[in-house]
Symmetry: C2
Subunit: 154 residues, 2 copies
DNA sequence: GCAATTTATATTGTGCGCGATGTAATTGCA
DNA sequence: TGCAATTACATCGCGCACAATATAAATTGC
């Protein structure tokens, strides 16, 4: 039954695209990225670069693995990204004197100053989501539960 | 106020990473991809490739822009992906005789046969999400509402 | 009937995102 | 003390994802 030729009327309903939570997540994120691209274009930042700036604005002087774990990314992703931010003059990178294996990432003056230029972004995104603040809070909570389950599973 | 040096106690609360719905979405999708990578490794498929196969299993013989619009992707993303699936022998690509601009994508015999090998995947993913079916349905619905708002906004 | 426009797909360049692998610094422990 | 194991980061290769651009086919307007 399950492995018969997949005609739309006979296929496994769980394999239908429009039934899948993961595709809803995936395609929604495509939309999020699209909106962020327009919001961040004038700052010449990508969304992942913006995320790195957000974590540094919250707490400066962090090593790479700190940033990795907060953003759920691998160093293979962040090392080149941080080098691009350094090349743009937004962050500095230096080895920790106490542990030469660690690279300490810190905001440059320009990186700190950029904070003033992103104040409107949460509001713009909120508007794009056109969704009540209560819904946003509830949805965020549900997603974090999912995220924990997914990362725990692997 | 908003553009003072971003100390963690004085910064704009809306710019805190852990308050952001979009980061919850982003990081949750990283987890989804991680789980799919392990599930799809034995089939040697990536998640976007799996999505293309899903849409073809639902309805075969579709042109590229059909697939693009159903997956919310651009042709610049799908054209190389489809060529890789063709090189793997899972799909065929041919120009439409009635409109030479269109490329019709269809399942090969191997592509159809692969359907039998993915029957367990929704169940595995469901388990990884460790979340009630009702929650999944509700969450999916909320995400689709968000997605519509985001794509309408741009 | 043919130029202008639109449509469908392809190409190029840039930036993620990560598995696999490498290297140097540090730690642990016999 | 010495050396194996671990940790922190970097590098490489591949596959998305898309903006910008190109090209050819089809359609429209006149």
């Amino acid at each position: 039954m399950a492995d018969t030729p997949p005609l739309s009327t006979t296929g496994n309903p769980a394999l239908k695209l429009d039934a899948q939570l993961c595709f809803a997540l995936y395609s929604t994120l495509l939309g999020v990225n699209k909106v962020y691209r327009t919001l961040l274009r004038e700052l010449d930042l990508t969304y992942p670069q913006y995320l790195v700036m957000l974590v540094l604005w919250e707490r400066d002087e962090r090593n790479v693995s700190d940033i990795c774990s907060q953003l759920y990314l691998e160093t293979a992703t962040l090392t080149p990204l941080l080098k691009r931010l350094e090349a743009r003059g937004l962050v500095n990178r230096r080895r920790s004197p106490s542990d030469e294996r660690q690279v300490i990432v810190s905001l440059s003056e320009a990186g700190r100053a950029l904070y003033a230029q992103v104040q409107h972004i949460p509001g713009c995104m909120s508007e794009a989501l056109s969704c009540s603040q209560d819904d946003i809070v509830a949805l965020r909570k549900q997603l974090l539960t999912l995220r924990d389950a997914l990362f725990q599973h692997v």
